[in-house]
Amino acid sequence: MSRRIDPQLLDEQLRLTLRDMCRICGVHAEYLMELVDEGIIAPQAPARRRTSRVPRAAQSWHFDGIAVVRVQRAIRLQQDLGVNLPGVALALDLLEEMEALRQRGP
């Protein structure tokens, strides 16, 4: 059984709305906004200081494909390892730095 499917590349060029992000990552908008506040993911449109639960500015946010990967990793770190959000931010930065170094090779 072998079907062929065309995939969606999760790269810097992908543009996802807040709603897309919620759907793809399976999380509430409030959780994504916490990650934005913590600097774990960064929306492309400038975010104003948030006042309501889902501010109007957040509706115009866009994220790239890298953000999906970061959110998924953040969930895993919180869920599996019980890391708090500042810890998640640090762990993600270190993980990505390690990957960049690994790619650069010896």
Binding site: M1, S2, R3, R4, I5, D6, P7, Q8, L9, L10, D11, Q13, C22, I24, G26, V27, H28, E30, Y31, G65, V68, V69, Q72, I75, R76, Q78, Q79, E99, Q103, R104, G105
Partner: protein, 206 residues
Amino acid sequence: MTPGSSRLFSSTLFGNHDFRSQGRRAGGFKGADEHARVGITLEEAFRRDSVEITVPQPGGKQRRLRVKIPPGVADGKRVRLKGQGGPGVGRGEPGDLFVEFRVVPHPQFRAEGRDIHYELPVTPWEAALGTDLKVPTLGGDVKLKIPPGSQSGSRLRLKGRGLPGEPSGDQIVTLQVVLPKAGNAEQRAVYEKMAETMDFDPRAAS
């Protein structure tokens, strides 16, 4: 969640945490997202081949599917295959499948993102005088102009000869000057002649 349905979520990565939306829609739950990793060669990434992906299933089973490598794939890049994850519960839609591509090490080339690095050994006279040399790339051999006065470690860029994407990567050729041995008297004489002729001290302050 009823006890009976918890089993269906046991294979998910995240379980039913409070920040997870449950994807509840019209009497059902969205299926679990699944994750897989696949090793590809640089040639496969360059040709954008279809590769077979094995997704482990609960109960030790496996599911296989073919995925065409999209342009822009480099080591560590991920793709999302909508609806290819676990089946939905009730009228819920299926989950997604996320695949991470890992580029396996290549004997000649080293990839850095979409750029391909290649070390080209050259003779001292090729570097000093300049020449045209044949250089392998993922797309086949190309001719590279070595400018006169090149040094060991000089980098030459073959624009667009790296991995495909928007924009495509380049191939970066690093010259490595290799010195021939002064094996016999005649060869030693050449080096001695150079020592006399060349007014050159690489340690002199520039």
